[in-house]
Symmetry: none
Subunit: 216 residues, 4 copies
DNA sequence: AATGAATGAGAATTCATTCAT
DNA sequence: CATGAATGAATTCTCATTCAT
């Protein structure tokens, strides 16, 4: 109670992690331009100086946050064990995971938007993220092949386009839930609305991959 | 002595329009937080003071830009004459229009993202936009009904969810084209990639609305 | 007396000049690295923002100060009317002017030092200063030629080296008057010491240019 | 476990010397105001904390550097053996040494400038430096006396003024070589320019001390 | 209606120095 | 003796906004 505690931590890794977590939250809430280094320092419990010491500056901190975010979602996908499920179950599981990930990690969406606003310059040339993404797309391609072999999926579905579409239908809904609420006149975030959307999304993807008449 | 031409324009409407156009560009490029009033003034050719005179401030200018953007896209949809087309043609036309609108008006995407980052507070309570949106959704609902009556579309497809999905698959792809390029390793904006995505999107939506086996 | 005076001036030229004067003083006192933008703003009576508005930044302000300083001393030299004096009188006059200029404008010395500390990068490529300097050296060359023609000066004295030497013997003494006082144990700035040094300097230069035995 | 070698040196004298050398370089390059303690620590290979341990702080470190610099040049002068040379040779030797010392120890010049910018407060009251300086001036006075006795030098030349002048003509040229290059339009540091200047300087001093007509 | 000089509050970043180990 | 993480106080610079003309 009476001990002075001038230095909150002598653990650099913990300090870095705390800064990163606070930065993720602040960048997600305000974007790169609107985020305040002061707030990040305060929220992280670290000294502002530490941000510059460990990350070099606001933009480099942002870059670290974005890389971390992508690494995290890719790691979640890897742990789904998709290759142990039937093709249809795997696809459903992936749609659900993607949806739930966005729902439980809403910072991910605004971070990705911020990075795109800045033309992806903070991850440009990042080989690690490219590799993680490739692994992910390959695993989806494997599902599609299994499905096609079993005669339940159409042949020649582009795995990358499918990945994009699975992300799109969840990302867009949750990203635009605020303007959506105003424009459509219902609460996008209500339990019922969320459940309905997930069902619609799963349906959309299943109809997309399912064998069926040639259209268009 | 009397020959100075200090006032570039005595046309308030033109001045407002110039400011709005410059603001749209700047807000789209940098977001609300990153946009600079100075730049908007400079780019618009108007005096900075005019921004405050006509719009009241940065945030109010942003609100005007966002409202203008939504009004513009809704107006584009109205002019498609969807009710004069066959249900399938109408849906295709709408998917294509939405895609092309985003492609040709990339500011729209980042403006919508910015507004959502700020929880839609600048359009919150905007009855006009709500009304325009309702007209749009109703027109889509009418298409779905016609399609169901003709036996080419499934019954009971939720028009709002369909609208969201049509937007999502184009919006997400184009919004995330920069990070997508880095992660997927191909140029999302190449002529071929854009054509392939539009085809995939049309296919996705047609399979979604088409009659077919019950899934899920 | 009772009027509020929120804006100290609507005269941009006066504001710029005030900033420049305050900056000269501060940079001279503390060097580029030690000078404080805040102090300059305060001393100039202008808002700090104005410094950035008019000059762009601390370094550019420094560059403006240095250019101004060189322009000023060159202008002083031009006004001496050296070509109307006898060669010997002209040389004496120049030695005295140079000495007095440094004495009355001590900032000049430290500004020049600062600029040299920074490898002259702020005036690098400045054609105007090069031209002013050339005019000055040419006027000294003309004196030397007149002196040689009259048989009072040696032939083939390098005008640039002479200019440098005239500057050196005054500049060094005044520049190093503080360390000099400590090391030599007398007050370099006393009236007597200053007078003695000026006499010594004039003597040095006159002996340097005077006809006389070949040495060395 | 016990094999870590965390302490680079248990040699306090070496550590102090390393810090001093790094500090000399950094202070010379950036001035007192512009020098960075971090850089000194890094360049010296020592821990930043050591600077405070051994020197007390940035300013005290600067004081140590300046004292060291003066001690070093005085020691060089002492080793010239001037009293074993003829008066003229001794003077030439001194001019050359001074020139070469500045040329080979360019930090000396900027350190002296920095100290003068700060009004010599770091060496103020330093008896040791005063004493070294006195020995040096006395040795020059002895040369002048010998020269006068031999009839080759003028009588009553002020030894201190001569010392100052010998320093001045080299110091100024080298100190201002960067601005000089821009203003005069030639490279002050080229081999030829340096040789020409040394010759000019020697000539200047020899003419100054040589017997000759009374001037002024 | 239009101008642009001026401002104060606040933003990112830097720095010399100290503390716990 | 030696380390390097941590700090608080400055310091440079930016920005939305207002005032006098």
């Amino acid at each position: 109670m009476g001990e002075k505690m001038p230095f909150r931590s002598r653990n650099p890794e913990a300090t870095k992690a705390d800064i990163l977590a606070a930065a993720r939250s602040e960048f997600a809430k305000a974007g790169l331009g609107g985020a305040r280094v002061d707030k990040i320092a305060e929220q992280s419990g670290a000294n502002k100086r530490m941000i510059y010491h460990y990350f070099g500056g606001k933009e480099q901190l942002f870059a670290a946050v974005v890389e971390d975010a992508y690494t995290h979602i890719r790691s979640g996908e890897r742990e789904l064990g998709l290759d142990e499920l039937s093709p249809t179950e795997a696809i459903c599981r992936l749609v659900e995971f993607t949806w739930r990930y966005y729902l439980e990690n809403p910072e991910f969406i605004t971070l990705v938007n911020s990075e795109n606003l800045h033309l992806a310059k903070h991850i440009s040339g990042n080989r690690q993220l490219r590799k993680l993404q490739k692994n992910y797309v390959d695993s989806v391609a494997a599902i599609l092949e299994r499905g096609a072999a079993q005669g339940v999926f159409r042949k020649d579905i582009d795995a990358a386009q499918l990945c994009i579409t699975i992300a799109a239908i969840g990302f867009y809904y949750l990203n635009n839930r605020h303007t959506g609420g105003v424009l459509f006149g219902f609460n996008f975030a209500s339990r019922e609305a969320l459940a309905a959307r997930l069902k619609f999304n799963t349906d959309t993807i299943l109809r997309l991959v399912a064998v069926g008449p040639m259209l268009g």
